[in-house]
Amino acid sequence: MPETKEATQFDALLTITQTINSHLKLDKVLESVMDVATQAMQVEASSLVLVDEETNELLFHVTEGVKAKIIKTIRMKAGEGIVGWVIQEGKPVLVNDVSKDPRFFKKADKKSGFTTKSILCVPMSTSNKCVGAIEVLNKENDGAFTKEDREFLQAIATQAAISIENAKLHEQIVKSERLAAIGQTVSGLAHCIKNILNGIQGGSYILDLGLKKENFSNVDKGWNIVKKNNLFMKELVLDMLSYSKEREPEYVTADVNEVVKSVCDLMEQKGKEKNVKMHFLPEDSLGEVQIDTKGVKRCVLNLVSNAIDACEESTKGNVEVSVQSTKGKTFKIHVSDSGIGMSPEIQEKLFQVFFSTKGSKGTGLGLAVSYKIIKEHGGNISVESEKGKGTKFTITLPKKRKK
């Protein structure tokens, strides 16, 4: 049984509303809106015209039906043609014989080879301005456009305008969020760099003073401060690069016990300086695994270095680093300390970039980078901590590379 015109148009509006709410990309939404509109209106061709905000030109953003591809390349000036008038005035136009309308833009037909007989064009208006228009050309079987057709097309255009406005709002939100994130990153970095520069400035001042007064212990002291800050700068740049780059881990087959032991060896001196005892407990049954050794080493190094710092205040600091195999497809690396521990508020912010509790000594990048490295492996880092008692970090990693 053939459907009535009203039923077809109702179905079309329903489909359009569903499409608009489907969270597809704007271009896809507009394409399907025009597809449905063209079929429901039974016309030879249709276009969705938008105003280019930079050049003010009229762009045939979506074109359907006969000669659609050529029509899409046409550019018109603001106010030109019937569509230009509709956008400028914000009012619909229904012309069943374009030859009698002086506003009709003949050049478009000449360029496309399409012969326009009748036009129904409605504005796409949002709350404060007209962003474009929808036009349908030549009703099939030489029919004439009616007032009902105009109302139907206006309903579609209003829906399309809402979609466009929402997409623009979303774009603005994303842009301002991105700018805010950049601002935060820049000020975080500036803070780190200023502290390092202060170290270099201080070191060289002390060194100068030592040279001037021939006090060689000051020369030595100043020079060591300069060297240390040079190293901080290098670490900062490396952390920044690891943090900013989207990268795949460089997997190699490795013995985790060796990787973790090498970190403990490296950190032993720091531990001694701060009166912290280091213990390493390997896992003999684990065997070889596939990991990015450089990344995992960097991560364990960050955790062990933090663990030693956390014990700084106590007289009997202990840091224990252990490897543990699980029955499943993963293994764990635990780094625990008997240090100052962390409040739940601090634990929450722990992996945020540029968050640091170490005053001017921390860059706030170490844990953020560690977290990223482990996530890139398809693993996880968890933390248990109690203020005044200590902290335990657990890294869980797959034994074999992520597919």
Partner: protein, 132 residues
């Protein structure tokens, strides 16, 4: 000769403390006391009542802003001049304004020196405050 003036340096970074000490040594003989965190600094300020406090902002346990507020609360310490050193960068600019800090802190510190510290600025500020 009058007694040496007392300066309290509160900074968690030993290298930064050494830098401040070295700069002070160029200005004359001072009795220098140091503290490596805000809480320790506050206790020492109350105990020794220094003529000047050089106060870092980013510190664990108690930061410089908190120390400053506490100093201003007590009769014994509220009139001690404070020079704040900070590497904080805001999103709107690369330095923290004394004015901004006045709003945050209730009153402004006597001076504010941005890191990296320029020795000339440090010398000028300390000399002015201590009347050297």
């Amino acid at each position: 000769m009058a007694e040496n003036k007392k300066v309290l340096i509160i900074d968690d970074e030993p290298d930064a403390t050494a830098f401040s000490e070295a700069m002070l040594s160029e200005l004359g003989d001072f009795e220098i006391v140091t503290a490596s965190n805000g809480l320790e600094g506050l206790q020492k300020a109350e105990a020794i009542k220094p003529d000047l406090i050089i106060l870092d902002v980013q510190m664990p346990v108690m930061n410089g802003f908190q120390v400053f507020k506490e100093l201003k609360k007590k009769d014994d310490t509220e009139n001690i001049p404070v020079i704040m050193l900070t590497g904080i960068a805001t999103t709107t600019g690369l330095r923290y304004d004394a004015k901004d800090m006045g709003i945050t802190l209730g009153s402004e510190p006597d001076a504010f020196i941005d890191k990296p510290v320029e020795p000339e600025e440090f010398h000028k500020t300390v000399s002015q405050i201590l009347g050297l």
